[in-house]
Amino acid sequence: MRGIFFSIDAILALLIAFSLSAFILNAIAGLPDPSLSSSQPEKLADDALISMDKSGVLKNALESKSAIPLKEFARVFPSNICYRVEISGENEGVIIADENCACKTYSISRRNFIISGSTTSIYLAEMRVCYKK
C-alpha cells in the first residue's frame, strides 16, 4: 500500500519537474531572435520616398502614367527587401502602384508632394517595405 502511495507521489513529482523544465526550455527557445534591423525597413521606406520625390521620380511616374520610373528606382533596394509603392490623388484613389513581392506586415511611410502646372495638385505617395521571408 505504501509502495503504491510512494509511486504515485514520485510520478507526480517527476511529472511536475519535467513539465516545469519543458516549460522553461520552451520559453527560452521561444524568445525572439535578436533583430538588428527592426528599424531598417522603416528608414528605407522614408529614404525611398524622400529620394523619389527629390529626384523627380514621383512626378515622372505621374506624368507618364507609368510605374516604370518607380520600378527603375526600386532596383536600388537591397535584394532581401519587399516593397509596394502607391501614388494616390486627392479624389482619384490609387493612380499608380508597383510592387516586387508581398508580405503580411510592412513598415509604412507616406509623403505628400505637389505638382504644379496649369493647376496645382496634391498627391500622396505611400511606400510599404518589409523583409522577404
Partner: protein, 171 residues
C-alpha cells in the same frame, strides 16, 4: 524494508534536486549570454543607425569639413549630404579618399562617426541600382567575424544609391 524505501526515496529526491539545479544553471547561463549578446548587438545597431543618419541626413559640422585638414580639432561630425538624402559628390569622394588613405585616418573617421565600439570595425559602400560599388572603403572583415549590415537610400548625382554600412567585431 523501511531502509530500502528511504534509500530509493532519497535517491529520487536527490536526482530531482540535481536535475533542477543543473537546469537552473543552464537557464541562467543561457539567459546571461543571450542578454550580453543582445546588448552588444543593440550597441552596434545604435552606433550604425546614428552614423548612417549623420552621413545621409546632415552636411557635417562644420559644413565645409571636407576642405581643411582632416583632424579631430577641425571636424566635429562627418556628413556627406547636401540636403537630406541627397549626397554631395565632393564630400562623398573626400570621405572615401580620407578613409582609404591610411589606417590612422580610417580610425579617425571611425571615432568621429562614433563607430569605435570595442574591437569593432566598419566598412561603407555606396552602390548604384545595378549593385555596382561607386565608392567603398578598403577594410573588410575576416572570415570568422559576424557582420551586421545596415542600409540607407539616397540620391547621388540624381541617381538612386544604396549607402551600406557593415560593422563587425574582430574575434
Amino acid at each position: 524494508m523501511r531502509g530500502q524505501l528511504f534509500s530509493f526515496d532519497f535517491l529520487l529526491a536527490i536526482s530531482i534536486i540535481l536535475f533542477i539545479f543543473a537546469l537552473s544553471m543552464f537557464v541562467s547561463e543561457n539567459t546571461a549570454s543571450s542578454i550580453n549578446r543582445r546588448e552588444a548587438e543593440f550597441d552596434i545597431q545604435r552606433a550604425a543607425d546614428s552614423a548612417l543618419s549623420q552621413l545621409v541626413e546632415t552636411p557635417g559640422n562644420p559644413t565645409n569639413w571636407h576642405t581643411p585638414d582632416f583632424t579631430d580639432a577641425n571636424v566635429k561630425s562627418i556628413g556627406i549630404a547636401a540636403s537630406r538624402n541627397e549626397l554631395d559628390p565632393d564630400k562623398t569622394s573626400r570621405l572615401f579618399f580620407i578613409a582609404n588613405s591610411n589606417f590612422g585616418n580610417y580610425s579617425l573617421v571611425k571615432r568621429i562617426l562614433a563607430l569605435d565600439l570595442p574591437s569593432s570595425n566598419f566598412s561603407i559602400a555606396i552602390s548604384n541600382a545595378s549593385k555596382y560599388a561607386i565608392f567603398e572603403t578598403m577594410v573588410s572583415p575576416a572570415g570568422t567575424a559576424s557582420v551586421h549590415s545596415f542600409s540607407r537610400i539616397a540620391i547621388f548625382e540624381n541617381e538612386p544609391v544604396l549607402v551600406n554600412l557593415r560593422m563587425w567585431v574582430e574575434k
